[in-house]
């Protein structure tokens, strides 16, 4: 049962290390969970991987190209409608 947890939680997690050759890969994910007394919703997405080789650690971000494109199109349509509205009012 849920104890000591928030109803709305946003966290960044580090997963178990994966060793491939001389590299150690640590996956990083970000989650958002909304929990109520009769249900809940959770969303989890990959954020980056941390690659450790020797003493050097490199962070490689995981870019969600599909989501970015969707957001860009959504933003463009909002912007276009807004501009058209402003142009109409200024006439």
């Amino acid at each position: 049962m849920r104890r000591g947890r928030e109803w709305v939680e946003s966290q960044t997690h580090l997963g178990a290390e994966i060793v491939v050759g001389d590299r150690v890969i640590t996956p990083q994910s970000q989650s958002l969970s909304i929990i109520g007394p009769h249900g809940g919703w959770a969303w989890n997405r990959p954020v980056a991987i941390l690659v450790r080789q020797g003493k050097e650690t490199k962070r490689i971000p995981i870019v969600d190209v599909t989501r970015l494109a969707q957001l860009a199109l959504f933003g463009a349509s909002i912007l276009a409608v807004g501009l058209a509205f402003i142009a109409k009012r200024s006439r």
Partner: protein
């Protein structure tokens, strides 16, 4: 996708405790193991898939009980003048006292997953290759263009008036 994701998809909720367990399993879904697949080795490379997952669950249970008082003057003669047993035998619709109850419940859930990228680890280095969902982008583009066209047409019509 991962075992946590599959385990959640195959959940059935029949009792309140099972419902709470399903909510607890939502927390497991927030772990990195849910979005990162197991490393697969092939052709001298190690491949790890990265996916976005979302899942939700909702449930509710309810119950109630009630009783009715026996009709006043039980054992008295009915409207037809016949004694109660005879009236019942004659098919008279006479309400009798009793207790009733019931309970029920229901629930539902949803889960979705989408591949985001593939991580390739080889001797040359580590590469993150994004996975582009062309269908989703095309649908978003058509929706955006449609809404722009619709708004432009409405504004044109409004300016004519």
């Amino acid at each position: 996708m991962s075992e946590q994701f599959e385990g959640f998809v195959r959940t059935t909720i029949e009792t309140w405790e099972e419902g709470m367990d399903a909510i607890d399993r939502l927390y497991q879904a927030t772990q990195p193991e849910t979005v990162f697949g197991r490393p697969i080795e092939a052709h001298g490379q190690t491949v790890i898939t990265a996916s976005e997952v979302s899942m939700g669950v909702g449930f509710g249970f309810g119950g109630g009980a009630g009783g009715s008082e026996p009709p006043a003057g039980e054992g008295e003669e009915s409207e037809t003048g016949a004694p109660p047993d005879e009236a019942e035998a004659a098919g008279e619709d006479q309400e009798t006292g009793g207790v009733g109850g019931g309970m029920g419940g229901g629930g539902g859930g949803t889960s979705a997953g989408r591949p985001v990228a593939v991580i390739r680890i080889s001797e040359d280095g580590v590469e993150v290759e994004p996975i582009v969902d062309v269908t989703k982008i095309a649908l978003a583009m058509f929706t955006a263009l449609g809404s722009m066209f619709f708004m432009a047409r409405r504004m044109k019509k409004a300016s004519r008036k």
